[in-house]
Amino acid sequence: MAKHKTPLLDQLVSGPWPSFVDDMKQYAAARAKNEKKIEYQIPVDVVDDLMGLLELSYADGTTHWKHGGIVGVFGYGGGVIGRYCDQPETFPGVAHFHTMRVAQPAGKFYKSEYVRKLCDLWEFRGSGLTNMHGSTGDIIFLGTQTPQLEEIFYELTHTMGQDLGGSGSNLRTPSDCIGQARCEFACYDTQDLCHTLTNDYQDELHRPAFPYKFKFKFDGCPNCCVASIARADISFIGTWKDDIRIDQEAVAGYVSGKFKPNAGAHAGRDWGPFDIVKEVIDLCPTECMKYENGKLAINNKECTRCMHCINVMPRALRPGKETGLSILVGAKAPILDGAQMGSLLVPFVEVNKEDGYQAIKDVIEAIWDWWMEEGKNRERLGELMKRQGFQKLLEVTGIKPVPQHVKEPRHNPYIFWKEDEVEGGWERDVTEYRKHHQR
Protein backbone atom coordinates (compact mmCIF):
# COMPACT_ATOMS: atom_id res chain seq x y z
CA MET A 1 0.00 0.00 0.00
CA ALA A 2 1.52 3.28 -1.09
CA LYS A 3 2.13 5.85 1.63
CA HIS A 4 0.56 8.68 -0.38
CA LYS A 5 -2.17 8.57 -3.01
CA THR A 6 -0.76 9.65 -6.37
CA PRO A 7 -3.54 9.66 -8.99
CA LEU A 8 -1.81 12.21 -11.22
CA LEU A 9 1.50 10.35 -11.21
CA ASP A 10 -0.39 7.13 -11.91
CA GLN A 11 -1.69 8.66 -15.10
CA LEU A 12 1.90 8.93 -16.35
CA VAL A 13 2.25 5.19 -15.94
CA SER A 14 -0.78 4.55 -18.15
CA GLY A 15 0.86 5.98 -21.29
CA PRO A 16 2.69 3.94 -23.93
CA TRP A 17 6.16 4.97 -22.81
CA PRO A 18 8.19 3.79 -19.83
CA SER A 19 7.71 6.18 -16.96
CA PHE A 20 10.02 7.29 -14.16
CA VAL A 21 7.01 6.72 -11.87
CA ASP A 22 7.24 2.97 -12.54
CA ASP A 23 10.90 3.02 -11.57
CA MET A 24 10.24 4.98 -8.40
CA LYS A 25 7.36 2.75 -7.31
CA GLN A 26 9.40 -0.37 -7.94
CA TYR A 27 12.31 1.03 -5.97
CA ALA A 28 10.09 2.31 -3.11
CA ALA A 29 8.71 -1.23 -2.73
CA ALA A 30 12.22 -2.76 -2.81
CA ARG A 31 13.43 -0.26 -0.24
CA ALA A 32 10.51 -1.10 2.07
CA LYS A 33 11.21 -4.83 1.69
CA ASN A 34 14.97 -4.36 2.22
CA GLU A 35 15.96 -7.87 1.22
CA LYS A 36 19.66 -6.91 1.32
CA LYS A 37 19.27 -5.84 4.98
CA ILE A 38 20.82 -2.44 4.37
CA GLU A 39 21.09 -0.11 7.35
CA TYR A 40 19.57 2.86 5.60
CA GLN A 41 21.06 6.11 6.86
CA ILE A 42 18.17 8.27 5.66
CA PRO A 43 14.43 7.50 5.96
CA VAL A 44 13.37 4.28 4.30
CA ASP A 45 10.27 5.91 2.81
CA VAL A 46 12.19 8.75 1.12
CA VAL A 47 10.99 7.64 -2.32
CA ASP A 48 7.33 7.46 -1.21
CA ASP A 49 7.60 10.96 0.18
CA LEU A 50 9.24 12.18 -2.99
CA MET A 51 6.33 10.83 -5.05
CA GLY A 52 3.86 12.36 -2.59
CA LEU A 53 5.56 15.73 -2.88
CA LEU A 54 5.60 15.56 -6.67
CA GLU A 55 1.89 14.69 -6.68
CA LEU A 56 1.24 17.75 -4.50
CA SER A 57 3.25 19.92 -6.90
CA TYR A 58 1.21 18.63 -9.84
CA ALA A 59 -2.01 19.33 -7.95
CA ASP A 60 -0.90 22.82 -6.83
CA GLY A 61 0.87 23.71 -10.05
CA THR A 62 3.85 24.95 -8.06
CA THR A 63 7.13 23.66 -6.69
CA HIS A 64 7.62 22.73 -3.07
CA TRP A 65 11.41 22.84 -3.17
CA LYS A 66 13.22 25.72 -1.55
CA HIS A 67 16.13 27.33 -3.28
CA GLY A 68 19.76 26.41 -2.59
CA GLY A 69 21.77 26.17 0.61
CA ILE A 70 25.15 26.34 2.30
CA VAL A 71 25.65 22.60 2.55
CA GLY A 72 28.72 21.08 0.95
CA VAL A 73 31.87 19.17 1.69
CA PHE A 74 34.82 20.94 3.26
CA GLY A 75 36.79 23.13 0.88
CA TYR A 76 34.50 22.52 -2.08
CA GLY A 77 32.21 25.24 -3.39
CA GLY A 78 30.42 22.91 -5.76
CA GLY A 79 29.34 19.33 -6.30
CA VAL A 80 26.64 19.46 -3.63
CA ILE A 81 23.39 21.34 -4.05
CA GLY A 82 21.27 22.00 -0.97
CA ARG A 83 17.62 21.10 -1.42
CA TYR A 84 14.90 21.45 1.20
CA CYS A 85 11.19 20.81 0.95
CA ASP A 86 8.63 23.35 2.20
CA GLN A 87 6.21 20.62 3.42
CA PRO A 88 8.49 18.78 5.88
CA GLU A 89 5.67 17.66 8.22
CA THR A 90 3.76 15.84 5.50
CA PHE A 91 6.85 14.56 3.71
CA PRO A 92 9.59 14.16 6.36
CA GLY A 93 11.57 11.77 4.16
CA VAL A 94 12.44 14.61 1.78
CA ALA A 95 12.69 17.48 4.29
CA HIS A 96 16.40 17.52 3.38
CA PHE A 97 17.04 16.17 -0.08
CA HIS A 98 20.48 17.36 -1.23
CA THR A 99 21.85 16.55 -4.65
CA MET A 100 25.42 15.36 -5.17
CA ARG A 101 27.17 15.46 -8.53
CA VAL A 102 29.77 12.79 -9.17
CA ALA A 103 32.24 13.58 -11.98
CA GLN A 104 31.77 11.11 -14.79
CA PRO A 105 34.86 9.29 -16.04
CA ALA A 106 36.10 10.66 -19.40
CA GLY A 107 33.97 9.35 -22.23
CA LYS A 108 31.67 7.79 -19.59
CA PHE A 109 33.82 4.67 -19.63
CA TYR A 110 33.35 2.59 -16.54
CA LYS A 111 32.79 -0.98 -15.47
CA SER A 112 29.58 -2.40 -14.07
CA GLU A 113 31.55 -3.07 -10.89
CA TYR A 114 32.07 0.68 -10.53
CA VAL A 115 28.34 1.41 -10.94
CA ARG A 116 27.53 -1.28 -8.37
CA LYS A 117 29.88 0.30 -5.84
CA LEU A 118 28.37 3.73 -6.48
CA CYS A 119 24.83 2.40 -6.14
CA ASP A 120 25.62 0.43 -2.97
CA LEU A 121 27.05 3.55 -1.38
CA TRP A 122 24.08 5.60 -2.46
CA GLU A 123 21.48 3.10 -1.26
CA PHE A 124 23.22 3.03 2.11
CA ARG A 125 23.69 6.78 2.58
CA GLY A 126 21.19 8.37 0.20
CA SER A 127 17.83 7.90 -1.43
CA GLY A 128 19.15 5.34 -3.91
CA LEU A 129 17.72 7.46 -6.73
CA THR A 130 20.15 8.51 -9.43
CA ASN A 131 20.14 10.41 -12.67
CA MET A 132 22.47 8.60 -15.06
CA HIS A 133 23.70 10.96 -16.46
CA GLY A 134 22.75 14.60 -15.99
CA SER A 135 22.81 16.88 -19.03
CA THR A 136 26.37 18.00 -18.25
CA GLY A 137 27.29 14.34 -17.96
CA ASP A 138 27.67 13.94 -14.20
CA ILE A 139 26.39 10.92 -12.35
CA ILE A 140 23.77 12.58 -10.18
CA PHE A 141 22.85 11.34 -6.73
CA LEU A 142 19.37 12.62 -5.92
CA GLY A 143 18.59 13.25 -2.29
CA THR A 144 20.45 12.80 0.95
CA GLN A 145 20.77 14.55 4.29
CA THR A 146 23.52 16.85 5.51
CA PRO A 147 25.35 14.42 7.87
CA GLN A 148 25.82 11.96 4.98
CA LEU A 149 27.67 14.37 2.69
CA GLU A 150 31.18 14.12 4.15
CA GLU A 151 30.79 10.36 4.60
CA ILE A 152 29.88 9.89 0.95
CA PHE A 153 32.65 12.23 -0.17
CA TYR A 154 35.21 10.29 1.87
CA GLU A 155 34.11 6.97 0.38
CA LEU A 156 34.11 8.36 -3.15
CA THR A 157 37.55 9.90 -2.92
CA HIS A 158 39.35 7.40 -0.68
CA THR A 159 37.83 4.09 -1.73
CA MET A 160 36.79 4.71 -5.30
CA GLY A 161 39.28 7.37 -6.45
CA GLN A 162 36.30 9.36 -7.59
CA ASP A 163 35.80 13.13 -7.39
CA LEU A 164 32.70 15.28 -7.20
CA GLY A 165 31.63 17.23 -10.27
CA GLY A 166 31.10 20.93 -10.74
CA SER A 167 28.08 23.05 -9.89
CA GLY A 168 27.39 26.72 -9.22
CA SER A 169 29.71 29.43 -10.57
CA ASN A 170 32.42 26.93 -11.34
CA LEU A 171 33.95 25.16 -14.25
CA ARG A 172 31.41 22.39 -14.74
CA THR A 173 32.47 18.78 -15.11
CA PRO A 174 34.15 18.67 -18.54
CA SER A 175 32.46 16.23 -20.86
CA ASP A 176 33.68 14.46 -23.99
CA CYS A 177 32.63 12.00 -26.66
CA ILE A 178 33.83 8.41 -26.72
CA GLY A 179 36.63 9.53 -29.06
CA GLN A 180 39.41 7.41 -30.43
CA ALA A 181 38.53 4.57 -28.08
CA ARG A 182 35.69 3.47 -30.35
CA CYS A 183 35.27 5.98 -33.15
CA GLU A 184 37.20 6.07 -36.41
CA PHE A 185 36.21 9.70 -37.06
CA ALA A 186 37.82 11.12 -33.91
CA CYS A 187 40.50 13.61 -34.92
CA TYR A 188 42.15 13.80 -31.51
CA ASP A 189 42.19 11.95 -28.20
CA THR A 190 39.14 13.55 -26.59
CA GLN A 191 39.43 11.50 -23.42
CA ASP A 192 43.01 12.49 -22.76
CA LEU A 193 42.35 16.18 -23.34
CA CYS A 194 39.18 16.09 -21.22
CA HIS A 195 40.88 14.18 -18.40
CA THR A 196 44.01 16.36 -18.45
CA LEU A 197 42.09 19.63 -18.34
CA THR A 198 39.80 18.26 -15.62
CA ASN A 199 42.84 17.53 -13.47
CA ASP A 200 44.70 20.72 -14.34
CA TYR A 201 41.73 22.94 -13.61
CA GLN A 202 40.70 21.43 -10.27
CA ASP A 203 40.74 24.83 -8.63
CA GLU A 204 38.28 26.22 -11.18
CA LEU A 205 36.11 23.11 -10.79
CA HIS A 206 35.78 23.20 -7.03
CA ARG A 207 36.29 26.77 -5.86
CA PRO A 208 33.83 29.18 -7.43
CA ALA A 209 35.16 32.54 -8.59
CA PHE A 210 33.51 32.84 -11.99
CA PRO A 211 30.57 35.13 -12.74
CA TYR A 212 28.47 32.07 -13.60
CA LYS A 213 28.72 28.49 -14.84
CA PHE A 214 31.38 27.61 -17.42
CA LYS A 215 31.35 24.52 -19.61
CA PHE A 216 33.98 22.71 -21.64
CA LYS A 217 32.96 19.99 -24.03
CA PHE A 218 35.11 17.90 -26.34
CA ASP A 219 33.94 16.44 -29.64
CA GLY A 220 36.32 14.27 -31.61
CA CYS A 221 34.87 15.26 -34.99
CA PRO A 222 32.34 17.71 -36.42
CA ASN A 223 29.52 15.18 -35.93
CA CYS A 224 29.54 16.75 -32.49
CA CYS A 225 28.04 13.83 -30.57
CA VAL A 226 28.18 15.72 -27.25
CA ALA A 227 26.67 18.80 -28.95
CA SER A 228 29.48 21.00 -27.70
CA ILE A 229 28.73 23.59 -30.40
CA ALA A 230 25.27 24.13 -28.93
CA ARG A 231 25.94 24.20 -25.21
CA ALA A 232 29.58 24.65 -24.18
CA ASP A 233 31.15 28.00 -23.36
CA ILE A 234 34.26 26.60 -25.03
CA SER A 235 33.81 23.71 -27.43
CA PHE A 236 36.72 21.72 -28.80
CA ILE A 237 35.74 20.09 -32.06
CA GLY A 238 38.07 17.76 -33.95
CA THR A 239 38.83 18.69 -37.54
CA TRP A 240 41.48 18.24 -40.24
CA LYS A 241 43.55 20.52 -42.45
CA ASP A 242 44.25 18.41 -45.49
CA ASP A 243 41.91 16.61 -47.90
CA ILE A 244 39.19 14.07 -47.18
CA ARG A 245 40.66 10.66 -48.01
CA ILE A 246 38.76 8.98 -50.84
CA ASP A 247 38.79 5.26 -51.67
CA GLN A 248 37.31 5.21 -55.18
CA GLU A 249 36.85 1.43 -55.10
CA ALA A 250 34.71 1.71 -52.01
CA VAL A 251 32.75 4.55 -53.62
CA ALA A 252 31.99 2.16 -56.46
CA GLY A 253 31.00 -0.40 -53.84
CA TYR A 254 28.38 1.96 -52.43
CA VAL A 255 27.11 2.88 -55.89
CA SER A 256 26.76 -0.78 -56.86
CA GLY A 257 24.93 -1.62 -53.65
CA LYS A 258 27.74 -3.79 -52.26
CA PHE A 259 27.93 -1.60 -49.12
CA LYS A 260 24.95 -0.23 -47.29
CA PRO A 261 24.93 3.57 -46.95
CA ASN A 262 25.14 5.06 -43.44
CA ALA A 263 26.74 1.79 -42.34
CA GLY A 264 23.31 0.17 -42.46
CA ALA A 265 21.52 2.75 -40.33
CA HIS A 266 18.03 3.81 -41.46
CA ALA A 267 17.76 0.36 -43.09
CA GLY A 268 14.41 -0.34 -41.43
CA ARG A 269 12.53 0.43 -44.63
CA ASP A 270 13.16 0.17 -48.34
CA TRP A 271 14.51 3.50 -49.61
CA GLY A 272 15.30 2.06 -53.06
CA PRO A 273 18.79 1.70 -54.51
CA PHE A 274 21.47 4.10 -53.23
CA ASP A 275 21.69 7.21 -55.41
CA ILE A 276 25.03 8.93 -54.78
CA VAL A 277 24.02 12.12 -56.60
CA LYS A 278 20.72 12.53 -54.80
CA GLU A 279 21.87 11.35 -51.38
CA VAL A 280 25.37 12.80 -51.22
CA ILE A 281 26.43 15.18 -54.00
CA ASP A 282 23.22 17.25 -54.05
CA LEU A 283 23.10 17.44 -50.26
CA CYS A 284 26.58 18.89 -49.86
CA PRO A 285 25.92 22.32 -48.28
CA THR A 286 28.79 24.00 -50.11
CA GLU A 287 28.26 22.10 -53.37
CA CYS A 288 31.91 21.14 -53.40
CA MET A 289 31.46 17.56 -54.64
CA LYS A 290 30.95 15.98 -58.01
CA TYR A 291 30.53 12.45 -59.31
CA GLU A 292 31.53 11.99 -62.95
CA ASN A 293 32.49 8.91 -64.93
CA GLY A 294 32.34 6.77 -61.83
CA LYS A 295 34.77 9.01 -59.92
CA LEU A 296 34.05 11.09 -56.88
CA ALA A 297 35.84 14.44 -56.57
CA ILE A 298 35.84 16.93 -53.70
CA ASN A 299 36.94 20.55 -53.83
CA ASN A 300 38.33 20.45 -50.30
CA LYS A 301 38.88 24.21 -50.08
CA GLU A 302 35.13 24.68 -50.01
CA CYS A 303 34.40 21.87 -47.54
CA THR A 304 32.93 23.07 -44.25
CA ARG A 305 33.31 19.69 -42.47
CA CYS A 306 29.58 18.99 -42.34
CA MET A 307 30.45 15.25 -42.24
CA HIS A 308 27.41 14.21 -44.30
CA CYS A 309 29.35 12.47 -47.10
CA ILE A 310 31.64 10.74 -44.61
CA ASN A 311 28.70 9.55 -42.54
CA VAL A 312 26.88 8.16 -45.59
CA MET A 313 29.94 6.40 -47.04
CA PRO A 314 32.28 5.69 -44.11
CA ARG A 315 34.15 2.95 -46.00
CA ALA A 316 34.90 5.27 -48.90
CA LEU A 317 35.56 8.60 -47.21
CA ARG A 318 37.65 9.40 -44.17
CA PRO A 319 38.76 12.62 -42.52
CA GLY A 320 42.22 13.86 -43.56
CA LYS A 321 45.45 12.91 -41.82
CA GLU A 322 46.52 16.35 -40.56
CA THR A 323 44.18 16.44 -37.63
CA GLY A 324 43.64 18.89 -34.80
CA LEU A 325 40.72 20.80 -33.40
CA SER A 326 38.72 23.98 -33.79
CA ILE A 327 37.81 26.08 -30.77
CA LEU A 328 34.36 27.64 -30.68
CA VAL A 329 33.17 29.86 -27.88
CA GLY A 330 30.04 31.34 -26.37
CA ALA A 331 27.40 28.65 -26.80
CA LYS A 332 24.70 28.26 -24.18
CA ALA A 333 21.47 26.30 -23.96
CA PRO A 334 19.32 27.86 -21.25
CA ILE A 335 15.97 26.24 -20.60
CA LEU A 336 13.79 29.27 -21.12
CA ASP A 337 15.33 31.83 -23.39
CA GLY A 338 18.46 32.97 -25.17
CA ALA A 339 19.97 29.81 -26.63
CA GLN A 340 23.08 30.59 -28.64
CA MET A 341 25.44 28.54 -30.80
CA GLY A 342 29.22 28.75 -30.49
CA SER A 343 31.26 31.18 -32.62
CA LEU A 344 34.48 30.06 -34.24
CA LEU A 345 37.52 31.53 -32.48
CA VAL A 346 40.41 29.24 -33.46
CA PRO A 347 39.90 27.54 -36.84
CA PHE A 348 42.67 25.01 -36.28
CA VAL A 349 45.08 24.15 -33.50
CA GLU A 350 47.27 21.09 -33.21
CA VAL A 351 46.47 18.87 -30.27
CA ASN A 352 49.84 18.47 -28.64
CA LYS A 353 49.87 16.01 -25.78
CA GLU A 354 53.63 16.34 -25.25
CA ASP A 355 53.56 19.94 -24.03
CA GLY A 356 50.44 19.42 -21.91
CA TYR A 357 48.14 21.09 -24.46
CA GLN A 358 49.74 24.49 -23.83
CA ALA A 359 48.37 26.18 -26.96
CA ILE A 360 44.84 25.22 -25.92
CA LYS A 361 45.35 26.29 -22.32
CA ASP A 362 46.66 29.70 -23.43
CA VAL A 363 43.35 30.38 -25.17
CA ILE A 364 41.29 29.12 -22.21
CA GLU A 365 43.13 31.16 -19.62
CA ALA A 366 43.05 34.38 -21.65
CA ILE A 367 39.28 33.98 -22.00
CA TRP A 368 38.85 33.32 -18.26
CA ASP A 369 40.92 36.38 -17.31
CA TRP A 370 38.69 38.57 -19.47
CA TRP A 371 35.39 37.04 -18.36
CA MET A 372 36.30 37.00 -14.66
CA GLU A 373 37.12 40.69 -14.82
CA GLU A 374 34.45 41.97 -17.18
CA GLY A 375 31.60 39.48 -16.85
CA LYS A 376 28.56 40.64 -14.87
CA ASN A 377 27.08 38.38 -12.22
CA ARG A 378 25.24 35.49 -13.89
CA GLU A 379 26.50 36.48 -17.33
CA ARG A 380 27.67 33.63 -19.57
CA LEU A 381 30.66 34.06 -21.85
CA GLY A 382 28.37 34.19 -24.89
CA GLU A 383 26.54 37.14 -23.41
CA LEU A 384 29.75 39.01 -22.62
CA MET A 385 30.86 38.40 -26.20
CA LYS A 386 27.64 39.97 -27.43
CA ARG A 387 27.91 42.88 -25.03
CA GLN A 388 31.55 43.79 -25.67
CA GLY A 389 31.87 42.39 -29.17
CA PHE A 390 33.75 39.56 -30.83
CA GLN A 391 36.58 41.95 -31.62
CA LYS A 392 37.24 42.40 -27.91
CA LEU A 393 37.50 38.63 -27.55
CA LEU A 394 40.07 38.56 -30.36
CA GLU A 395 41.99 41.30 -28.60
CA VAL A 396 42.12 39.58 -25.22
CA THR A 397 43.10 36.24 -26.72
CA GLY A 398 45.65 37.84 -29.05
CA ILE A 399 44.12 36.11 -32.05
CA LYS A 400 44.28 37.89 -35.40
CA PRO A 401 41.01 38.27 -37.31
CA VAL A 402 40.67 35.80 -40.18
CA PRO A 403 37.89 35.39 -42.74
CA GLN A 404 36.53 32.37 -40.84
CA HIS A 405 35.55 34.73 -38.01
CA VAL A 406 33.08 36.53 -40.24
CA LYS A 407 29.71 34.82 -40.17
CA GLU A 408 28.24 36.65 -43.13
CA PRO A 409 29.98 39.44 -45.06
CA ARG A 410 28.44 42.88 -44.42
CA HIS A 411 26.12 41.38 -41.82
CA ASN A 412 28.25 41.44 -38.70
CA PRO A 413 31.15 43.79 -39.46
CA TYR A 414 32.52 43.65 -35.96
CA ILE A 415 36.14 44.01 -36.99
CA PHE A 416 37.05 47.69 -37.05
CA TRP A 417 40.33 49.44 -37.66
CA LYS A 418 42.01 51.07 -34.71
CA GLU A 419 43.96 54.32 -34.89
CA ASP A 420 47.35 52.69 -34.45
CA GLU A 421 46.62 50.26 -37.27
CA VAL A 422 45.99 53.03 -39.80
CA GLU A 423 48.87 54.91 -41.44
CA GLY A 424 48.86 58.45 -40.08
CA GLY A 425 46.19 57.69 -37.48
CA TRP A 426 42.87 59.55 -37.45
CA GLU A 427 44.47 63.01 -37.82
CA ARG A 428 44.54 64.52 -41.28
CA ASP A 429 45.38 67.82 -42.87
CA VAL A 430 42.00 69.28 -43.77
CA THR A 431 43.50 72.01 -45.99
CA GLU A 432 45.31 69.38 -47.99
CA TYR A 433 42.14 67.33 -48.22
CA ARG A 434 40.08 70.34 -49.40
CA LYS A 435 42.47 70.90 -52.28
CA HIS A 436 41.02 67.78 -53.89
CA HIS A 437 37.54 67.58 -52.35
CA GLN A 438 35.02 70.44 -52.47
CA ARG A 439 32.60 71.01 -49.64
Binding site: I70, V71, G72, G77, V80, A95, S167, A209
Partner: protein, 79 residues
Protein backbone atom coordinates in the same frame (compact mmCIF):
# COMPACT_ATOMS: atom_id res chain seq x y z
CA UNK B 1 48.44 43.16 0.50
CA UNK B 2 49.21 40.67 3.25
CA UNK B 3 46.66 37.97 4.03
CA UNK B 4 45.84 39.30 7.51
CA UNK B 5 45.28 42.81 6.17
CA UNK B 6 43.14 41.57 3.29
CA UNK B 7 41.18 39.31 5.61
CA UNK B 8 40.32 42.20 7.92
CA UNK B 9 39.41 44.42 4.99
CA UNK B 10 36.99 41.81 3.67
CA UNK B 11 35.47 41.10 7.07
CA UNK B 12 34.94 44.83 7.67
CA UNK B 13 33.49 45.34 4.21
CA UNK B 14 31.08 42.43 4.53
CA UNK B 15 30.07 43.28 8.11
CA UNK B 16 29.02 46.76 6.95
CA UNK B 17 26.77 45.24 4.32
CA UNK B 18 25.30 42.40 6.36
CA UNK B 19 22.40 44.56 7.53
CA UNK B 20 20.80 44.28 4.12
CA UNK B 21 22.07 40.87 2.95
CA UNK B 22 24.09 37.91 4.09
CA UNK B 23 25.24 36.35 0.81
CA UNK B 24 27.52 37.99 -1.76
CA UNK B 25 28.72 37.34 -5.28
CA UNK B 26 32.42 36.71 -5.76
CA UNK B 27 32.68 40.01 -7.65
CA UNK B 28 31.43 41.86 -4.54
CA UNK B 29 34.30 40.34 -2.57
CA UNK B 30 36.85 41.25 -5.25
CA UNK B 31 35.48 44.82 -5.24
CA UNK B 32 35.85 45.11 -1.45
CA UNK B 33 39.39 43.74 -1.67
CA UNK B 34 40.13 46.01 -4.65
CA UNK B 35 41.97 43.13 -6.26
CA UNK B 36 41.92 41.37 -9.61
CA UNK B 37 39.71 38.25 -9.48
CA UNK B 38 42.57 35.75 -9.50
CA UNK B 39 44.33 37.45 -6.57
CA UNK B 40 41.07 37.89 -4.68
CA UNK B 41 40.33 34.19 -5.17
CA UNK B 42 43.47 33.20 -3.25
CA UNK B 43 42.42 35.31 -0.25
CA UNK B 44 38.81 34.15 -0.39
CA UNK B 45 39.78 30.47 -0.63
CA UNK B 46 42.09 30.81 2.33
CA UNK B 47 39.31 32.44 4.32
CA UNK B 48 36.98 29.54 3.46
CA UNK B 49 39.65 27.08 4.59
CA UNK B 50 40.07 29.07 7.80
CA UNK B 51 36.35 28.89 8.43
CA UNK B 52 35.71 32.64 8.14
CA UNK B 53 33.71 32.51 4.93
CA UNK B 54 31.31 29.86 3.68
CA UNK B 55 29.89 28.95 0.30
CA UNK B 56 26.24 29.16 -0.63
CA UNK B 57 24.96 27.56 -3.80
CA UNK B 58 21.63 27.61 -5.57
CA UNK B 59 22.89 24.87 -7.84
CA UNK B 60 23.49 27.24 -10.74
CA UNK B 61 25.07 30.20 -8.95
CA UNK B 62 27.53 30.35 -6.07
CA UNK B 63 27.75 33.03 -3.41
CA UNK B 64 29.80 33.66 -0.30
CA UNK B 65 28.85 34.72 3.22
CA UNK B 66 30.50 35.26 6.57
CA UNK B 67 30.21 32.00 8.45
CA UNK B 68 27.27 32.10 10.81
CA UNK B 69 25.51 35.01 9.10
CA UNK B 70 22.06 34.44 7.65
CA UNK B 71 20.40 31.08 7.80
CA UNK B 72 22.48 28.14 8.96
CA UNK B 73 22.61 24.61 7.61
CA UNK B 74 20.73 23.23 10.59
CA UNK B 75 17.96 25.78 10.18
CA UNK B 76 17.98 26.10 6.41
CA UNK B 77 14.89 23.97 6.07
CA UNK B 78 12.93 26.18 8.45
CA UNK B 79 10.76 28.87 6.92
Amino acid sequence: MEYEEAKQKLIDGLTKKTKSKSKFYFSDLADILEMKPRDAKKIVNQMVTDGILEFWSSGSTSMYGLKGMGKQAAAEHEA
